[in-house]
């Protein structure tokens, strides 16, 4: 039992020592410079974008209850989207995404 205890203590100390060495080691001078356009591409790739359904819920409810997609056809939604974009001062991105969602869900 004593041997097991001593081995456990020794193993624990080795792990703690090892982690300390790794944590304190700096590899800053060994970083590879990544071109700016590559970073931009990567961030674009992993950007989480809100869905049209989410924007529909958040944006329309600011003034009135969010409309049912089934109440109008695709052509009508195009007209309503342009009207609401100007009336409620929405961004182009918001109105396009909401229009796409309404047309896909009606």
């Amino acid at each position: 039992m004593k041997i097991v205890f001593k081995l456990s203590i020794a193993l624990g100390l080795m792990v703690a020592f090892g982690l300390t060495v790794v944590a304190c080691s700096s590899t800053k001078d060994k970083y590879t410079n990544v071109p700016a356009d590559t970073v931009a591409e990567a961030s674009e790739e992993f950007k989480i974008e809100k869905s049209g359904a989410q924007l529909w819920g958040e944006t329309c409810n600011r003034c009135h209850i969010a409309p049912s997609p089934a109440d109008y056809n695709d052509t009508d939604w195009e007209t309503i989207s342009l009207h609401m974009r100007v009336r409620a001062n929405l961004t182009e991105h918001e109105s396009k995404k909401i229009e796409e969602f309404l047309k896909s869900a009606n």
């Binding site: 958040e58 944006t59 409810n61 600011r62 003034c63 009135h64 209850i65 969010a66 409309p67 049912s68 695709d74 052509t75 009508d76 195009e78 007209t79 309503i80 342009l82 009207h83 974009r85 100007v86 009336r87 409620a88 001062n89 929405l90 961004t91 182009e92 991105h93 918001e94």
Partner: protein, 386 residues
């Protein structure tokens, strides 16, 4: 012969099948839509000395939308209201708009003014959570609702937060000089369809949505003109400056199992001091003037238990609103009013609502006299958007 028959059959049925396949009534490039809203209801009013109850004649407000292209559009709203025994008609707005780029749209014609958010976005009966507007809006109100002119507006995505703006120039208001209605001398009349001087009104609004979920919006609006009187009249150089602060918060709160909607707006009107004439009963005239400053405020809270298990409860909405209006001391229309309104709404659909509301208003001064008047009202309204 057989081949000829087969050819004729193929030709006859084939052309019909072809026609059915390709005659799919593709939408035209230009599109026309009729939308709008209407409402009706019942009101009971008790002002102490006087009580009245009446069914309200329907109000009908058709909106015409003509989409010429993805950038060009015309919009117009008419208003038909039964007032007393007359049918009143009005042109709420009629304007042409063109999307210049993703951040800028130009509008020209008669358009709703972005002075705060109530008149531009929230006043239609199927959107407004209560049967009427807060104090300070509408007839004799201090907040301008529409104007004839030109406007630039748009919005920017700031990578989460959003910013929207609007700048415009219109014909501007006309000051009531008291010659026709002495008791309204000094009030700004915004329905000034034909300009009577060279001064134009300039205004705008900037709105910030600081959070990425668009739940909150804070806005500042201003409206200014250097002249409100007729050209060559003593009121020609009477200027005015108005501003408004607005706030909106709409958020689903799981802890409350529903959506909380907070709206508030403060309006301030400052008109240059002018001299008016008061006619006494004995025919004598007396000049008077006053510090022409007015303000109004409203705050509204509503709650819809959208996450309730019962379908009936989901469609209910509780709403409460406080509003006040202060007209200038010394004016014939001097007034201090405070109103509390409470309501219970039932949403038949996303655009049709039955509103039951109780309102109590305390008015000191105003058109009805110098004393204090308490008016209590019960309203049952039904509104539908289409």
């Amino acid at each position: 012969m057989k081949k000829l028959l087969v050819f004729i059959i193929v030709l006859a049925f084939g052309s019909s099948a072809f026609g059915q396949t390709y005659n799919t009534f593709e939408p035209s490039k230009t599109q026309f839509m009729l939308r709008g809203y209407g409402h009706t209801g019942f009101e009971y009013m008790d002002s102490g000395d006087e009580t009245e109850s009446t069914f309200l004649g329907s109000a009908f407000a058709p909106i015409f939308l003509y989409k010429h292209s993805d950038r060009l559009m015309f919009e117009a709203e008419l208003e038909f209201v039964l007032e007393g025994n007359d049918l009143e008609t009005g042109l709420e707005y009629a304007d042409i708009m063109y999307v210049l780029n993703k951040n800028m749209t130009v509008r020209a014609g008669k358009f709703l003014l972005p002075f705060g958010t109530f008149m531009e976005r929230l006043h239609p009966a199927w959107i407004n959570r209560l049967p009427n507007a807060p104090l300070g809006y509408g007839h004799d109100g201090i907040a301008p609702s529409s104007g004839i002119g030109v406007e630039l507006r748009g919005a920017f995505d700031l990578g989460g937060p959003k910013l929207n703006y609007s700048v415009y120039s219109t014909n501007g208001p006309r000051i009531k000089d008291g010659s026709e209605e002495p008791e309204e001398a000094g009030i700004l009349k915004f329905e000034n369809y034909e300009d009577t001087n060279l001064a134009k009104a300039f205004g705008g609004r900037i709105g910030l949505l600081p959070f990425s979920d668009s739940s909150t919006e804070i806005g500042f609006s201003a409206y200014s003109t250097s002249g409100t009187g007729e050209e060559d009249s003593e009121f020609e150089d009477i200027g005015a400056f108005l501003y408004a602060l607005d706030f909106s918060l709409v958020k689903q709160i799981p802890g409350l199992s529903g959506i909380v909607d907070v709206k508030a707006q403060y309006n301030s009107s400052n008109v240059d001091t002018a001299t008016f004439i008061e006619m006494h009963e004995d025919g004598d005239e007396e000049e008077y003037s006053f510090d022409n400053q007015s303000n109004s405020f409203y705050a509204q809270l509503s709650y819809r238990p959208t996450m309730a298990s019962s379908d009936f409860v989901k469609k209910l909405e509780l709403v409460g609103r406080y509003s006040d209006f202060n007209a200038p001391e010394g004016a014939e229309w001097e007034e201090k009013s405070t109103q509390y309104a409470f309501g219970l709404n039932y949403w038949l659909s996303w655009r049709s609502v039955v509103k039951l509301s109780y309102q109590t208003t305390e008015t000191e001064g105003g058109h009805d006299g110098d004393g204090i008047t308490n008016t209590n009202g019960l309203f049952l309204h039904w509104a539908i958007g289409f």
